[in-house]
């Protein structure tokens, strides 16, 4: 019904990976999933890459890579503070993907 939006596929690709989906889940509930941070608030500023690396248990460059995938798909935003990078989920982007997917599946909102 809808015209085809390539960014929807990019977002779905980004989400279609167990590690990245875990990250999305964690970023949706930062206080429940990460320890308090010294240099940036978990909710206000986002979650520091190092915290995600620790929690996920993969090598740091691998996690950097996953975060870039999520960021390029527009699902998370990143903010450099000092020499950290804080990542936040973009709920509007997630809603957009959900709406697009609903439309493709012919499900009325």
């Amino acid at each position: 019904m809808n015209d085809f939006d390539p960014s929807t596929v990019a977002a779905l690709k980004a989400l279609a990976n167990p590690n990245r989906l875990k990250i999305i889940d964690w970023l949706a509930h930062p206080r429940e999933n990460f320890p308090p941070q010294v240099d940036g608030d978990l909710v206000e500023d986002g979650v520091c890459l190092a915290n995600i690396v620790d929690k996920l248990g993969l090598a740091q460059p691998t996690v950097t890579n996953h975060m870039h995938t999520l960021a390029e798909a527009g699902l998370v935003t990143s903010k450099p503070v000092k020499n950290w990078v804080f990542y936040k989920l973009d709920p509007a982007a997630m809603e957009k993907v959900l709406k697009s997917l609903s439309a493709h599946a012919g499900i009325d909102d």
Copy 2:
């Protein structure tokens, strides 16, 4: 918030491909996208593989493969009639994926 459901990842993987997403879209609106069928109703019985092959413009085994991917992810059902196979979208499965994804993203329904 939710516990991790591997079938959600399988479904997202199945959806994270432009050709399969097109197929999902077409199956959601069969009358708008396919010619009437002689041996099975587009809506009641589903869409014949050959019709999807024609519309997608890929080789038949490639499309068979895509349909198996979608079926294994539970997103479509298949029904053999004579020597055709009819495919139908499973809207309940799609809703389940959408709900699961919403939960992961922390979006309240």
